[in-house]
Symmetry: C2
Subunit: 152 residues, 2 copies
């Protein structure tokens, strides 16, 4: 029996998180996997960690980091002043996929949103990620929106 845990990410998890972000058809081209991790990641980690409305999480299996996701709690006036929970950068280590670890991590994230009083959970995923679409459909998410991006 392996032991699974999900917890707030720490500075020492940065290399493992970046490795998962990069081990992905879309991530490969856009991340820097030099060791030790580039300063841009440490700087971003500190900004996320200092923000009470952000929660960067890792899933561990027997102490090894095997998953990550980032939660942002966004207050707003619409929907009668509802807070939204937003999930970004969901990854499971490539050698651990197919074991429902992603589902477990997402269920944890949804529970965190509920605990923070969110009325809705939202996320976007690239149109090309067909596996991800099936994954979110299975979790009960509805693909009601179009996600637009503008590079600066």
């Amino acid at each position: 029996m392996s032991e699974i845990a999900i917890r707030r990410a720490e500075e020492g998890d940065i290399a493992a998180i970046v490795a998962m972000l990069a081990d992905d058809p879309l991530g490969r081209a856009r991340e820097d996997t030099s060791e030790p991790p580039a300063e841009c990641y440490a700087k971003a980690f500190r900004a996320v960690d200092a923000d009470p409305n952000q929660l960067l999480a890792v899933m561990t299996q027997d102490g090894r980091v095997v998953g990550t996701l980032q939660l942002t709690f966004i207050a707003g006036l619409s929907h009668k002043g509802a807070t939204r929970g937003q999930i970004e950068a969901v990854r499971v280590a490539s050698d651990r996929r197919g074991a429902r670890l992603g589902q477990r991590m997402m269920e944890w994230a949804i529970a965190q949103c509920r605990a923070r009083g969110c009325a809705q959970v939202q996320l976007t995923t690239d149109r090309s990620r067909a596996d991800a679409h099936r994954f979110y459909d299975r979790l009960g998410f509805k693909p009601t929106h179009i996600g637009y991006k503008l590079g600066l």
Copy 2:
């Protein structure tokens, strides 16, 4: 010549913002337009206003609030530690549409994202909002993602 300005929203703008959120095919069913504004909106306003990573804005024309949008600055590790600027709850007063006020407000929002060092601006819009899709296409946004929502 009318005078257009865009500024951070204040507590006194809540009723005008809620009226615009509600004056919309999707918003009508989900907002509460009682006067004075319901306490849920004031509470949400205070949460947004207290968050240094949020900026709720209004556009005024000759002193009347005629537009609103909400910006959230989201730090994260992906894309080499890029900060994203997210735009939500974009509205222009129904009697002021067609005058490019929305475009002016969005250009202002994109400039705010640039000033905060964002690498990307993102937003989602309901699949049914065909006019909004043309609007974001015209502004240079790319509809690369699917936006999933889960009600809690």
